[in-house]
Assembly symmetry: C2
Homo-oligomer: 288 residues x 2
């Protein structure tokens, strides 16, 4: 049974759709059909929101490893993570059945549900979301165990992320906001159906399994020599096949996807990964 | 004669197209047809670029009023402005004939040339740009005298801004980068033509004159109650007529443009103005 649910916005202080959704539901209440659920609304990093920045010192959404929660305090966000872990968690023995952490991205990923595990609960959730929101994407990051991730949502017994784009940092777009709200509502509808054992036999769905990060090409001095090719820009989750252009160099040449295997790129040109020279992430398509 | 020209990127540290163009031309040289011109390439705020933020303490591009340049130092950017003014200016008695300051915006403004004065030089420049880049927009901000603006470009004897969008902060998009590069090259081509007295009789062109900022609706507590309507989003410089929707409230109602006069909105949902609750700026269409 999913009794207690925490909906979280503002884990990154410049991702406006989650921040706005939490604020709206705090002011207006959550839709009445969710009165059956024990929902708490949570704004994670008010100081970063006030500063209109992703984080002040360290990325809050990487501070929830066991190690980071146990080490000496390294930053404002690390300290904040310990507080949040006491309130929503503690991780591994949580008082919260499900933590839904709401993000947005500058990449054209549409409404994406990120799950970190493919145990039965998550499979049912993913299939339910895909059935009720066919335009959505399911992204699986299960390269390590659920509790080994550093994400805020892992403070919950179960934890997932909503990731919607394209939306610039510091901007609220109606299309992205409404998609975010819709996915949050579908997740809450799923919890009610799950608790009532009404999910039935949900049909398997398409999902993408995270591969690795692909870096921008750099010269010997570490300067970038190319940008995302216009054919790849805004083409998140569209198959990138052998020989298709992925970068355009600043002197006008194309660099193509060199591998034999088709990949499904995402987080293409995400602003938050720009400083790390991450161009996009790969994934494989499978049936969940 | 336009002899000395400063091309400036990184006035805002998270606007990547100008930063990248200056870096590329520093590494590769400017295109050889511009060898006739005395061009200096300038990166305005390296500390903000390193921090991947618009500014550290104050908006650098508002620090170039006479008052701000003469007052006691109020911030890192105010101090930086005084240094830049010594190098590119000094304002009002400048060693630089033309300062071109390169910006980008999260608004869908395409390639926009911003001029602050409609004296003959700027009129010829605007007409030349529009002739050689018909897809561009000319925005005139002449509500006050050229030297009364606080913009960095006013350190030049002449000064203009390139403003291209839509591009998220911290992201380089190929389409926006190439438009930025094209407009920079067209401006340099214009300088050569102007110096050679080869502009001829340029046909008059359409331009937009800045009106005022329109704010998001707020409740008594200062919380925003609406977002940019999807019909207005990405519709910069498209006529907004009486009764057309401009906001969508969070409870699903439309708020329409109430005035008799059609306006030409721009800087729609610009991230940098989000904290100020500026939704968009108005303008009027005229022939320049």
């Amino acid at each position: 049974m999913i009794k207690s649910i925490a909906l979280v916005g503002g884990t990154h202080g410049n991702e406006m759709s989650g921040i706005q959704l939490i604020q709206n539901w705090e002011n207006q209440g959550t839709p009445s059909r969710f009165d059956l659920l024990d929902i708490s609304l949570y704004t994670a990093n008010p100081a970063a929101i006030a500063a209109n920045t992703r984080f002040l010192e360290e990325d809050l959404n990487r501070q929830f490893t066991h190690a980071a929660l146990e080490e000496a305090t390294s930053s404002q966000e690390n300290e904040l993570a310990k507080t949040i872990n006491q309130q929503l968690g503690p991780k591994g023995a949580s008082v919260t059945d499900l933590v839904v952490d709401i993000h947005n991205t500058t990449s054209h990923m549409g409404a994406t549900l990120i799950i970190l595990d493919t145990s039965d609960f998550y499979v049912q959730m993913a299939r339910y979301v895909k059935q009720h929101m066919p335009e959505s994407n399911i992204l699986v990051e299960d390269e390590k165990a659920y509790l080994d991730h550093g994400y805020l949502c892992t403070t919950g017994k179960y934890g997932v992320m909503i990731e919607v784009g394209a939306q610039p940092q510091g901007v609220l777009r109606e299309d992205v906001f409404l998609s975010t709200q819709k996915m949050a509502e579908v997740l809450l509808d799923f919890c009610i159906a799950f608790n009532n054992n009404e999910c039935g036999d949900l049909p398997p769905c398409e999902a993408f399994r995270l591969g690795e990060n692909i870096s921008f090409p750099l010269d010997e001095d570490g300067n970038r020599t190319a940008m995302i090719h216009h054919a790849l820009q805004d083409s998140d989750f569209v198959p990138l096949v052998t020989g298709a252009p992925m970068f355009r160099t600043f002197d006008g040449k194309d660099i193509v996807w060199p591998r034999e295997e088709t990949t499904y790129p995402h987080f293409i040109n995400e602003a938050a990964y720009n400083k790390l020279h991450v161009a996009f992430a790969t994934s494989t398509l499978f049936t969940l």
